[in-house]
Protein backbone atom coordinates (compact mmCIF):
# COMPACT_ATOMS: atom_id res chain seq x y z
CA UNK A 1 0.00 0.00 0.00
CA UNK A 2 1.28 3.41 -0.91
CA UNK A 3 2.02 5.67 2.01
CA UNK A 4 0.88 8.86 0.27
CA UNK A 5 -1.65 8.81 -2.54
CA UNK A 6 -2.89 11.72 -4.60
CA UNK A 7 -5.78 10.76 -6.85
CA UNK A 8 -6.87 13.39 -9.34
CA UNK A 9 -6.30 16.00 -6.69
CA UNK A 10 -7.67 19.42 -7.53
CA UNK A 11 -7.78 22.82 -5.93
CA UNK A 12 -9.54 25.86 -7.28
CA UNK A 13 -9.41 29.27 -5.64
CA UNK A 14 -12.22 31.71 -5.94
CA UNK A 15 -11.17 35.30 -5.88
CA UNK A 16 -12.53 38.54 -7.26
CA UNK A 17 -11.09 40.73 -9.90
CA UNK A 18 -11.62 44.37 -10.70
CA UNK A 19 -11.96 47.26 -8.33
CA UNK A 20 -15.23 48.97 -9.10
CA UNK A 21 -17.28 46.03 -10.22
CA UNK A 22 -16.07 42.88 -8.56
CA UNK A 23 -16.19 39.90 -10.86
CA UNK A 24 -15.64 36.44 -9.47
CA UNK A 25 -12.60 34.70 -10.80
CA UNK A 26 -11.71 31.06 -10.49
CA UNK A 27 -8.06 30.13 -10.41
CA UNK A 28 -7.19 26.49 -10.81
CA UNK A 29 -4.05 26.07 -8.81
CA UNK A 30 -3.94 22.30 -8.95
CA UNK A 31 -5.57 20.65 -11.95
CA UNK A 32 -5.72 16.95 -11.32
CA UNK A 33 -2.56 15.63 -9.77
CA UNK A 34 -1.83 11.89 -9.53
CA UNK A 35 1.06 10.28 -7.74
CA UNK A 36 1.85 7.70 -5.09
CA UNK A 37 4.72 7.51 -2.67
CA UNK A 38 5.92 4.15 -1.34
CA UNK A 39 7.21 3.49 2.13
CA UNK A 40 10.82 4.52 2.68
CA UNK A 41 10.95 6.72 -0.42
CA UNK A 42 12.21 10.25 -0.59
CA UNK A 43 9.79 11.68 -3.12
CA UNK A 44 10.31 15.07 -4.67
CA UNK A 45 7.67 17.43 -5.99
CA UNK A 46 9.70 19.70 -8.23
CA UNK A 47 8.44 22.77 -9.98
CA UNK A 48 8.86 26.49 -10.49
CA UNK A 49 7.26 29.08 -8.24
CA UNK A 50 3.51 29.19 -8.54
CA UNK A 51 3.34 25.66 -9.95
CA UNK A 52 1.09 24.40 -7.20
CA UNK A 53 3.61 22.57 -5.01
CA UNK A 54 2.67 24.27 -1.77
CA UNK A 55 -1.03 23.95 -2.54
CA UNK A 56 -0.59 20.23 -3.16
CA UNK A 57 1.37 19.62 -0.02
CA UNK A 58 -1.09 21.58 2.09
CA UNK A 59 -3.90 19.42 0.81
CA UNK A 60 -1.97 16.32 1.77
CA UNK A 61 -1.34 17.55 5.30
CA UNK A 62 -5.00 18.52 5.84
CA UNK A 63 -4.47 22.27 6.00
CA UNK A 64 -6.33 22.83 2.78
CA UNK A 65 -9.48 21.15 1.54
CA UNK A 66 -9.25 19.85 -2.02
CA UNK A 67 -11.97 21.01 -4.36
CA UNK A 68 -11.82 17.75 -6.27
CA UNK A 69 -10.21 14.35 -6.18
CA UNK A 70 -8.90 12.47 -3.20
CA UNK A 71 -5.80 12.10 -1.13
CA UNK A 72 -4.80 9.50 1.41
CA UNK A 73 -1.93 9.38 3.84
CA UNK A 74 -1.20 6.01 5.46
CA UNK A 75 -4.59 4.89 4.27
CA UNK A 76 -6.51 7.70 5.94
CA UNK A 77 -8.46 10.13 3.81
CA UNK A 78 -7.24 13.69 4.34
CA UNK A 79 -10.72 15.17 4.27
CA UNK A 80 -12.65 12.59 6.27
CA UNK A 81 -9.99 11.67 8.81
CA UNK A 82 -7.78 14.71 9.35
CA UNK A 83 -7.04 13.87 12.98
CA UNK A 84 -5.68 10.45 12.06
CA UNK A 85 -3.46 11.99 9.43
CA UNK A 86 -2.20 14.79 11.68
CA UNK A 87 -1.13 12.37 14.36
CA UNK A 88 1.11 10.45 12.04
CA UNK A 89 2.80 13.09 9.97
CA UNK A 90 5.36 15.80 10.46
CA UNK A 91 5.19 19.11 8.59
CA UNK A 92 8.19 21.31 7.99
CA UNK A 93 8.05 24.51 6.00
CA UNK A 94 10.65 27.07 5.00
CA UNK A 95 10.84 30.71 5.88
CA UNK A 96 11.17 32.90 8.91
CA UNK A 97 7.70 32.55 10.34
CA UNK A 98 6.19 29.70 12.23
CA UNK A 99 8.14 29.79 15.46
CA UNK A 100 7.51 31.59 18.72
CA UNK A 101 10.18 34.25 18.50
CA UNK A 102 10.32 35.27 22.10
CA UNK A 103 10.78 31.74 23.30
CA UNK A 104 13.93 29.67 23.24
CA UNK A 105 14.28 26.75 20.85
CA UNK A 106 13.95 24.46 23.84
CA UNK A 107 10.65 25.99 24.89
CA UNK A 108 9.34 25.89 21.34
CA UNK A 109 10.16 22.19 21.16
CA UNK A 110 8.70 21.44 24.57
CA UNK A 111 5.47 23.11 23.57
CA UNK A 112 5.14 21.21 20.32
CA UNK A 113 6.18 18.01 22.01
CA UNK A 114 3.24 18.47 24.30
CA UNK A 115 0.92 19.16 21.38
CA UNK A 116 2.02 15.95 19.72
CA UNK A 117 1.70 13.88 22.85
CA UNK A 118 5.40 13.37 23.47
CA UNK A 119 5.33 13.78 27.19
CA UNK A 120 6.75 12.66 30.46
CA UNK A 121 10.33 11.74 30.94
CA UNK A 122 10.45 10.60 27.35
CA UNK A 123 9.96 14.19 26.29
CA UNK A 124 13.23 15.48 27.62
CA UNK A 125 15.10 12.62 26.06
CA UNK A 126 13.40 13.03 22.73
CA UNK A 127 13.92 16.80 22.66
CA UNK A 128 17.62 16.25 23.35
CA UNK A 129 17.84 13.62 20.64
CA UNK A 130 16.23 15.86 18.12
CA UNK A 131 18.38 18.85 18.99
CA UNK A 132 21.46 16.67 18.59
CA UNK A 133 20.21 15.38 15.28
CA UNK A 134 19.70 18.82 13.77
CA UNK A 135 22.86 20.23 15.26
CA UNK A 136 21.34 22.81 17.56
CA UNK A 137 22.63 21.33 20.78
CA UNK A 138 24.24 24.05 22.87
CA UNK A 139 22.13 26.82 21.42
CA UNK A 140 18.72 25.61 22.46
CA UNK A 141 18.32 28.10 25.30
CA UNK A 142 18.71 31.12 23.06
CA UNK A 143 15.64 32.95 21.86
CA UNK A 144 14.56 32.10 18.37
CA UNK A 145 14.45 35.76 17.42
CA UNK A 146 18.24 35.70 17.32
CA UNK A 147 18.49 32.68 15.06
CA UNK A 148 19.76 32.74 11.50
CA UNK A 149 17.60 31.38 8.71
CA UNK A 150 19.55 28.16 8.62
CA UNK A 151 19.13 27.60 12.34
CA UNK A 152 15.43 28.27 12.11
CA UNK A 153 15.14 25.71 9.39
CA UNK A 154 16.87 23.17 11.51
CA UNK A 155 14.57 23.97 14.36
CA UNK A 156 11.59 23.55 12.03
CA UNK A 157 12.86 20.10 11.11
CA UNK A 158 13.43 19.28 14.75
CA UNK A 159 9.86 20.29 15.49
CA UNK A 160 8.55 18.25 12.59
CA UNK A 161 10.11 14.99 13.74
CA UNK A 162 9.64 15.31 17.49
CA UNK A 163 6.88 12.76 17.61
CA UNK A 164 8.75 10.37 15.34
CA UNK A 165 6.16 10.47 12.55
CA UNK A 166 6.12 7.85 9.83
CA UNK A 167 5.80 10.43 7.11
CA UNK A 168 7.49 13.82 6.93
CA UNK A 169 6.41 16.57 4.55
CA UNK A 170 9.01 19.22 3.76
CA UNK A 171 7.89 22.35 1.92
CA UNK A 172 10.86 24.12 0.34
CA UNK A 173 13.03 23.57 3.39
CA UNK A 174 16.23 25.06 2.02
CA UNK A 175 14.76 28.25 0.65
CA UNK A 176 16.79 31.29 1.59
CA UNK A 177 19.46 29.25 3.33
CA UNK A 178 23.15 29.75 2.49
CA UNK A 179 24.82 26.95 0.48
CA UNK A 180 26.70 25.43 3.38
CA UNK A 181 23.64 25.45 5.60
CA UNK A 182 21.55 24.02 2.81
CA UNK A 183 23.98 21.18 2.34
CA UNK A 184 23.73 20.32 6.01
CA UNK A 185 19.96 20.41 5.80
CA UNK A 186 20.03 18.04 2.87
CA UNK A 187 22.19 15.64 4.78
CA UNK A 188 19.57 15.76 7.52
CA UNK A 189 16.82 14.98 5.08
CA UNK A 190 18.69 12.02 3.67
CA UNK A 191 19.18 10.85 7.22
CA UNK A 192 15.44 10.81 7.82
CA UNK A 193 15.09 8.11 5.18
CA UNK A 194 17.84 6.14 6.82
CA UNK A 195 15.74 6.04 9.97
CA UNK A 196 12.88 4.44 8.09
CA UNK A 197 10.66 7.41 7.42
CA UNK A 198 8.95 8.34 4.19
CA UNK A 199 9.59 11.87 3.00
CA UNK A 200 7.80 14.09 0.52
CA UNK A 201 9.82 17.14 -0.41
CA UNK A 202 8.79 20.14 -2.49
CA UNK A 203 11.50 22.24 -4.02
CA UNK A 204 12.32 24.38 -7.01
CA UNK A 205 16.00 23.49 -6.88
CA UNK A 206 16.58 20.76 -9.39
CA UNK A 207 20.01 19.84 -8.15
CA UNK A 208 18.44 19.28 -4.75
CA UNK A 209 15.82 16.97 -6.20
CA UNK A 210 18.46 15.19 -8.25
CA UNK A 211 20.72 14.68 -5.25
CA UNK A 212 18.16 13.58 -2.72
CA UNK A 213 15.12 12.08 -4.33
CA UNK A 214 14.41 8.48 -5.20
CA UNK A 215 11.63 9.63 -7.45
CA UNK A 216 10.53 13.01 -8.69
CA UNK A 217 7.26 14.39 -9.97
CA UNK A 218 7.68 17.56 -11.98
CA UNK A 219 4.77 19.93 -11.54
CA UNK A 220 4.09 23.01 -13.64
CA UNK A 221 0.95 25.14 -13.80
CA UNK A 222 -0.91 22.79 -11.53
CA UNK A 223 -0.24 19.59 -13.45
CA UNK A 224 2.30 16.79 -13.25
CA UNK A 225 4.32 17.02 -16.46
CA UNK A 226 6.76 14.25 -15.78
CA UNK A 227 7.38 11.59 -13.18
CA UNK A 228 10.10 9.07 -12.51
CA UNK A 229 13.51 8.57 -11.02
CA UNK A 230 16.08 11.27 -11.80
CA UNK A 231 17.72 8.84 -14.24
CA UNK A 232 14.43 8.21 -16.01
CA UNK A 233 13.74 11.91 -16.34
CA UNK A 234 17.21 12.52 -17.69
CA UNK A 235 16.70 9.69 -20.12
CA UNK A 236 13.82 11.67 -21.53
CA UNK A 237 16.34 14.09 -22.91
CA UNK A 238 19.37 11.79 -22.96
CA UNK A 239 19.58 11.16 -26.63
CA UNK A 240 19.82 14.83 -27.34
CA UNK A 241 22.35 17.52 -26.81
CA UNK A 242 22.52 20.92 -25.28
CA UNK A 243 24.21 23.79 -27.01
CA UNK A 244 25.11 26.79 -24.96
CA UNK A 245 25.85 30.05 -26.75
CA UNK A 246 26.90 33.25 -25.03
CA UNK A 247 25.33 36.20 -26.78
CA UNK A 248 25.34 39.94 -26.28
CA UNK A 249 21.92 41.31 -26.99
CA UNK A 250 19.74 38.83 -28.81
CA UNK A 251 16.48 39.98 -30.31
CA UNK A 252 13.11 38.23 -30.24
CA UNK A 253 13.13 37.65 -33.99
CA UNK A 254 16.41 35.77 -33.77
CA UNK A 255 15.05 33.71 -30.89
CA UNK A 256 12.04 32.72 -32.93
CA UNK A 257 14.24 31.62 -35.78
CA UNK A 258 16.34 29.54 -33.39
CA UNK A 259 13.23 27.91 -32.03
CA UNK A 260 12.19 27.07 -35.53
CA UNK A 261 15.32 25.14 -36.36
CA UNK A 262 14.42 21.52 -36.91
CA UNK A 263 15.42 19.30 -34.04
CA UNK A 264 15.29 21.99 -31.43
CA UNK A 265 13.14 20.93 -28.49
CA UNK A 266 13.60 23.80 -26.04
CA UNK A 267 15.22 27.19 -25.96
CA UNK A 268 15.84 29.23 -22.86
CA UNK A 269 17.68 32.46 -22.32
CA UNK A 270 19.46 33.19 -19.04
CA UNK A 271 20.52 36.69 -18.23
CA UNK A 272 24.05 37.02 -16.93
CA UNK A 273 24.93 40.67 -16.28
CA UNK A 274 25.52 42.15 -19.71
CA UNK A 275 25.45 38.84 -21.51
CA UNK A 276 22.81 36.28 -22.12
CA UNK A 277 23.26 32.57 -22.24
CA UNK A 278 21.22 30.90 -24.90
CA UNK A 279 20.57 27.29 -24.01
CA UNK A 280 19.27 25.20 -26.88
CA UNK A 281 18.16 21.62 -26.39
CA UNK A 282 17.88 19.45 -29.40
CA UNK A 283 16.93 15.86 -30.03
CA UNK A 284 19.18 13.48 -31.75
CA UNK A 285 22.88 13.67 -32.35
CA UNK A 286 23.07 16.29 -35.08
CA UNK A 287 25.56 19.08 -34.70
CA UNK A 288 23.45 22.22 -34.84
CA UNK A 289 25.97 24.86 -33.81
CA UNK A 290 26.60 26.36 -37.26
CA UNK A 291 22.94 26.52 -38.10
CA UNK A 292 22.10 28.19 -34.80
CA UNK A 293 24.89 30.72 -35.15
CA UNK A 294 23.64 31.50 -38.61
CA UNK A 295 20.33 32.66 -37.20
CA UNK A 296 21.92 35.00 -34.70
CA UNK A 297 22.79 37.69 -37.23
CA UNK A 298 23.85 40.97 -35.75
CA UNK A 299 24.34 39.75 -32.21
CA UNK A 300 27.85 39.41 -30.87
CA UNK A 301 28.66 35.91 -29.81
CA UNK A 302 31.01 34.77 -27.07
CA UNK A 303 31.70 31.23 -25.91
CA UNK A 304 29.98 28.34 -27.53
CA UNK A 305 29.81 24.89 -25.99
CA UNK A 306 27.89 21.67 -26.38
CA UNK A 307 27.28 19.15 -23.67
CA UNK A 308 25.18 16.26 -22.45
CA UNK A 309 21.81 17.13 -20.96
CA UNK A 310 21.42 17.23 -17.19
CA UNK A 311 18.35 16.88 -15.02
CA UNK A 312 18.02 20.62 -15.13
CA UNK A 313 17.62 20.48 -18.87
CA UNK A 314 15.08 17.71 -18.54
CA UNK A 315 13.21 19.85 -16.08
CA UNK A 316 13.30 22.91 -18.30
CA UNK A 317 12.10 20.83 -21.23
CA UNK A 318 9.20 19.56 -19.16
CA UNK A 319 8.05 22.83 -17.68
CA UNK A 320 8.39 24.95 -20.75
CA UNK A 321 6.65 22.56 -23.07
Amino acid sequence: MAVIEAIDLRRTYRTTTGVVRRRPLEVEAVKGVWFAVERGELFGLLGPNGAGKTTTIKMLITLLLPTGGQARVLGHDVVAEPREVRRRIGYVFGGDRGLYERLSALDNLRYFAELYGVSGRGQRRRVDEVLELVGLKGRERERVEGYSRGMRQRLHIARGILHDPEVVFLDEPTIGVDPVGARELRALMANLIATGKTVLLTTHYMFEADELCDRIAVIASGEIVGQGTPAQLKAGVADGRVTEIEVFGIGDAALERVRGVSGVTAVTVEDRDQRQLLVVQSAGDRELTHELLGHLDGASVGRVATREPTLEDAYVALVTR
Binding site: L63, L64, Y91, G98, R102, R110, Y111, F112, S119
Partner: protein, 256 residues
Protein backbone atom coordinates in the same frame (compact mmCIF):
# COMPACT_ATOMS: atom_id res chain seq x y z
CA UNK B 1 -4.40 13.49 31.95
CA UNK B 2 -2.59 14.54 28.79
CA UNK B 3 -5.22 17.22 28.34
CA UNK B 4 -4.28 18.79 31.64
CA UNK B 5 -0.61 18.52 30.82
CA UNK B 6 -1.18 20.21 27.51
CA UNK B 7 -3.09 23.03 29.15
CA UNK B 8 -0.49 23.45 31.82
CA UNK B 9 2.44 23.49 29.40
CA UNK B 10 0.76 25.91 27.04
CA UNK B 11 -0.21 28.11 29.97
CA UNK B 12 3.31 28.28 31.35
CA UNK B 13 4.86 28.84 27.93
CA UNK B 14 2.55 31.71 27.12
CA UNK B 15 2.96 33.18 30.57
CA UNK B 16 6.67 33.20 29.93
CA UNK B 17 6.28 34.85 26.57
CA UNK B 18 3.91 37.62 27.41
CA UNK B 19 4.73 38.13 31.05
CA UNK B 20 8.32 38.98 30.32
CA UNK B 21 7.44 41.61 27.78
CA UNK B 22 8.01 45.02 29.30
CA UNK B 23 5.56 46.50 26.84
CA UNK B 24 2.81 44.28 28.15
CA UNK B 25 3.66 44.97 31.76
CA UNK B 26 3.53 48.68 31.21
CA UNK B 27 0.33 48.77 29.22
CA UNK B 28 -1.45 46.39 31.55
CA UNK B 29 -0.63 48.46 34.62
CA UNK B 30 -0.53 52.06 33.49
CA UNK B 31 -4.04 52.24 32.10
CA UNK B 32 -5.76 50.76 35.16
CA UNK B 33 -3.67 52.91 37.46
CA UNK B 34 -4.63 56.09 35.68
CA UNK B 35 -8.29 55.15 35.64
CA UNK B 36 -8.01 54.26 39.30
CA UNK B 37 -6.61 57.71 39.97
CA UNK B 38 -9.46 59.37 38.12
CA UNK B 39 -11.91 57.26 40.08
CA UNK B 40 -10.24 58.00 43.41
CA UNK B 41 -10.52 61.73 42.84
CA UNK B 42 -14.10 61.44 41.70
CA UNK B 43 -15.14 59.35 44.65
CA UNK B 44 -13.27 61.51 47.08
CA UNK B 45 -14.81 64.73 45.92
CA UNK B 46 -18.18 63.03 45.68
CA UNK B 47 -18.00 62.19 49.32
CA UNK B 48 -19.28 58.62 49.09
CA UNK B 49 -17.85 56.89 52.12
CA UNK B 50 -15.90 53.64 51.99
CA UNK B 51 -15.64 53.55 48.24
CA UNK B 52 -11.92 53.82 47.66
CA UNK B 53 -11.39 50.06 47.88
CA UNK B 54 -14.37 49.68 45.60
CA UNK B 55 -12.70 52.04 43.12
CA UNK B 56 -9.36 50.24 43.34
CA UNK B 57 -11.01 46.88 42.72
CA UNK B 58 -13.13 48.33 39.95
CA UNK B 59 -10.19 49.83 38.11
CA UNK B 60 -8.27 46.59 38.52
CA UNK B 61 -11.12 44.63 37.01
CA UNK B 62 -11.38 47.11 34.17
CA UNK B 63 -7.76 46.23 33.49
CA UNK B 64 -8.51 42.52 33.64
CA UNK B 65 -11.26 42.99 31.08
CA UNK B 66 -8.96 44.99 28.80
CA UNK B 67 -6.40 42.21 28.91
CA UNK B 68 -9.05 39.60 28.25
CA UNK B 69 -10.43 41.59 25.37
CA UNK B 70 -7.24 42.54 23.62
CA UNK B 71 -4.75 39.84 24.54
CA UNK B 72 -7.04 36.82 24.53
CA UNK B 73 -9.29 38.27 21.87
CA UNK B 74 -6.40 38.97 19.57
CA UNK B 75 -4.58 35.79 20.35
CA UNK B 76 -5.63 33.64 17.41
CA UNK B 77 -5.13 36.52 15.01
CA UNK B 78 -1.64 36.91 16.46
CA UNK B 79 -0.90 33.24 15.84
CA UNK B 80 -1.78 33.79 12.23
CA UNK B 81 0.65 36.69 11.92
CA UNK B 82 3.39 34.67 13.59
CA UNK B 83 2.88 31.90 11.06
CA UNK B 84 2.07 29.44 13.82
CA UNK B 85 -1.66 29.15 13.23
CA UNK B 86 -1.06 26.49 10.61
CA UNK B 87 0.97 24.52 13.09
CA UNK B 88 -1.83 24.76 15.59
CA UNK B 89 -4.31 23.40 13.08
CA UNK B 90 -1.91 20.70 11.86
CA UNK B 91 -1.41 19.44 15.41
CA UNK B 92 -3.50 16.48 16.59
CA UNK B 93 -5.46 18.10 19.47
CA UNK B 94 -8.62 20.04 18.61
CA UNK B 95 -8.14 23.79 18.21
CA UNK B 96 -10.03 24.58 21.40
CA UNK B 97 -7.52 22.61 23.41
CA UNK B 98 -4.58 24.11 21.56
CA UNK B 99 -5.57 27.71 22.20
CA UNK B 100 -7.29 27.47 25.55
CA UNK B 101 -4.02 27.66 27.52
CA UNK B 102 -2.99 30.78 25.62
CA UNK B 103 -6.21 32.54 26.43
CA UNK B 104 -6.02 31.53 30.08
CA UNK B 105 -2.46 32.77 30.40
CA UNK B 106 -3.32 36.12 28.88
CA UNK B 107 -6.21 36.69 31.21
CA UNK B 108 -4.28 35.56 34.27
CA UNK B 109 -1.67 38.15 33.45
CA UNK B 110 -4.46 40.67 33.77
CA UNK B 111 -4.06 40.13 37.47
CA UNK B 112 -1.12 42.50 37.20
CA UNK B 113 -3.67 45.23 36.69
CA UNK B 114 -5.48 44.38 39.89
CA UNK B 115 -2.26 44.21 41.87
CA UNK B 116 -1.19 47.55 40.44
CA UNK B 117 -4.40 49.38 41.33
CA UNK B 118 -4.49 47.96 44.84
CA UNK B 119 -0.87 48.83 45.53
CA UNK B 120 -1.24 52.27 43.96
CA UNK B 121 -4.37 52.93 45.94
CA UNK B 122 -2.78 51.86 49.19
CA UNK B 123 0.45 53.79 48.73
CA UNK B 124 -0.84 57.03 47.26
CA UNK B 125 -4.41 57.32 48.41
CA UNK B 126 -4.40 55.40 51.64
CA UNK B 127 -6.97 52.90 50.43
CA UNK B 128 -7.58 50.42 53.23
CA UNK B 129 -6.75 46.98 51.93
CA UNK B 130 -8.84 45.18 54.47
CA UNK B 131 -10.64 42.27 52.82
CA UNK B 132 -13.89 41.10 54.34
CA UNK B 133 -13.36 37.45 53.37
CA UNK B 134 -9.69 36.97 52.52
CA UNK B 135 -9.90 33.22 51.87
CA UNK B 136 -12.90 33.61 49.65
CA UNK B 137 -11.07 36.34 47.79
CA UNK B 138 -8.10 34.06 47.30
CA UNK B 139 -10.48 31.49 45.81
CA UNK B 140 -12.57 33.94 43.86
CA UNK B 141 -9.71 35.65 42.07
CA UNK B 142 -8.22 32.66 40.20
CA UNK B 143 -11.71 31.35 39.57
CA UNK B 144 -12.79 34.63 38.06
CA UNK B 145 -9.65 34.73 35.92
CA UNK B 146 -10.25 31.17 34.77
CA UNK B 147 -13.80 31.92 33.72
CA UNK B 148 -12.77 35.12 31.97
CA UNK B 149 -10.00 33.21 30.22
CA UNK B 150 -12.59 30.83 28.83
CA UNK B 151 -14.63 33.78 27.70
CA UNK B 152 -11.50 35.25 26.13
CA UNK B 153 -11.14 32.11 24.02
CA UNK B 154 -14.65 32.72 22.73
CA UNK B 155 -13.69 36.27 21.86
CA UNK B 156 -10.56 35.08 20.08
CA UNK B 157 -12.43 32.48 18.13
CA UNK B 158 -15.02 35.04 17.05
CA UNK B 159 -12.61 37.81 16.18
CA UNK B 160 -10.60 35.61 13.84
CA UNK B 161 -13.70 35.24 11.70
CA UNK B 162 -14.18 38.96 11.33
CA UNK B 163 -11.87 41.01 9.18
CA UNK B 164 -12.11 44.21 11.16
CA UNK B 165 -11.78 42.53 14.51
CA UNK B 166 -9.52 45.26 15.87
CA UNK B 167 -12.17 47.90 15.45
CA UNK B 168 -14.71 45.64 17.09
CA UNK B 169 -12.39 44.91 19.99
CA UNK B 170 -11.90 48.62 20.64
CA UNK B 171 -15.62 49.04 20.71
CA UNK B 172 -16.13 46.46 23.43
CA UNK B 173 -13.92 48.00 26.08
CA UNK B 174 -15.99 50.84 27.53
CA UNK B 175 -19.40 49.21 27.01
CA UNK B 176 -18.45 46.14 28.99
CA UNK B 177 -17.00 48.32 31.75
CA UNK B 178 -20.34 50.10 31.85
CA UNK B 179 -22.66 47.12 31.56
CA UNK B 180 -20.70 44.96 33.99
CA UNK B 181 -20.91 47.59 36.67
CA UNK B 182 -17.23 47.20 37.32
CA UNK B 183 -16.69 50.56 38.91
CA UNK B 184 -20.19 51.82 39.55
CA UNK B 185 -23.40 50.19 40.56
CA UNK B 186 -25.92 49.09 37.94
CA UNK B 187 -28.44 51.33 39.69
CA UNK B 188 -27.32 54.29 37.55
CA UNK B 189 -28.15 52.38 34.37
CA UNK B 190 -31.63 52.04 32.85
CA UNK B 191 -33.59 48.92 33.73
CA UNK B 192 -33.64 47.47 30.23
CA UNK B 193 -29.87 47.01 30.33
CA UNK B 194 -30.00 44.50 33.20
CA UNK B 195 -30.33 41.38 31.04
CA UNK B 196 -27.28 42.50 29.07
CA UNK B 197 -25.34 42.83 32.30
CA UNK B 198 -26.48 39.42 33.54
CA UNK B 199 -25.20 37.78 30.35
CA UNK B 200 -21.68 39.14 30.82
CA UNK B 201 -19.10 37.02 32.64
CA UNK B 202 -17.21 40.13 33.84
CA UNK B 203 -20.32 41.27 35.70
CA UNK B 204 -20.52 38.12 37.79
CA UNK B 205 -16.75 37.91 38.22
CA UNK B 206 -16.67 41.47 39.51
CA UNK B 207 -19.52 40.81 41.90
CA UNK B 208 -17.81 37.73 43.27
CA UNK B 209 -14.56 39.60 43.85
CA UNK B 210 -16.28 42.61 45.31
CA UNK B 211 -18.38 40.53 47.67
CA UNK B 212 -15.30 38.70 48.84
CA UNK B 213 -13.45 41.94 49.42
CA UNK B 214 -16.13 44.20 50.80
CA UNK B 215 -18.76 41.77 51.98
CA UNK B 216 -21.68 39.99 50.37
CA UNK B 217 -22.72 36.58 49.04
CA UNK B 218 -19.83 35.25 46.99
CA UNK B 219 -21.03 31.81 45.93
CA UNK B 220 -23.93 32.88 43.76
CA UNK B 221 -21.92 35.20 41.53
CA UNK B 222 -19.04 32.71 41.44
CA UNK B 223 -21.38 29.97 40.30
CA UNK B 224 -22.76 32.17 37.54
CA UNK B 225 -19.22 33.05 36.47
CA UNK B 226 -18.40 29.36 36.06
CA UNK B 227 -21.65 28.63 34.26
CA UNK B 228 -20.95 31.37 31.74
CA UNK B 229 -17.36 30.21 31.43
CA UNK B 230 -18.51 26.71 30.59
CA UNK B 231 -20.96 28.07 28.04
CA UNK B 232 -18.10 30.07 26.54
CA UNK B 233 -15.99 26.97 25.98
CA UNK B 234 -18.84 25.24 24.18
CA UNK B 235 -19.50 28.28 22.02
CA UNK B 236 -15.77 28.70 21.36
CA UNK B 237 -15.44 25.10 20.24
CA UNK B 238 -18.25 25.57 17.75
CA UNK B 239 -16.77 28.82 16.56
CA UNK B 240 -13.29 27.38 16.15
CA UNK B 241 -14.63 24.38 14.31
CA UNK B 242 -16.42 26.67 11.89
CA UNK B 243 -13.33 28.80 11.51
CA UNK B 244 -11.07 25.83 10.82
CA UNK B 245 -13.38 24.46 8.20
CA UNK B 246 -13.70 27.80 6.47
CA UNK B 247 -9.99 28.49 6.62
CA UNK B 248 -9.18 25.12 5.11
CA UNK B 249 -11.76 25.63 2.40
CA UNK B 250 -10.65 29.15 1.59
CA UNK B 251 -6.91 28.83 2.24
CA UNK B 252 -6.82 31.64 4.79
CA UNK B 253 -4.84 29.92 7.53
CA UNK B 254 -1.60 31.57 6.67
CA UNK B 255 -2.75 34.95 5.43
CA UNK B 256 -1.41 37.95 7.17
Amino acid sequence: MTTLRLIRTGFVINLKMVGTSSFFLLTSTVQPVIFATIAFYMFRSGGRPGTLLYAALGAGMMGIWSTTLFASGGMIQWQRWQGTLELGVAAPPPLTLVYLPWSLANTFLGAYALAATLVWGRVLFGVPLHLAHPWLFALALPSALLALGLFGLLLGSSFILYRHANALANLLEYPVWIASGLIFSLSVLPGWSRPISWALPPYWAARALRDAAIGGPVWGPLGMTFALGAASVVAATLSLGWFEHRARARATLSLT
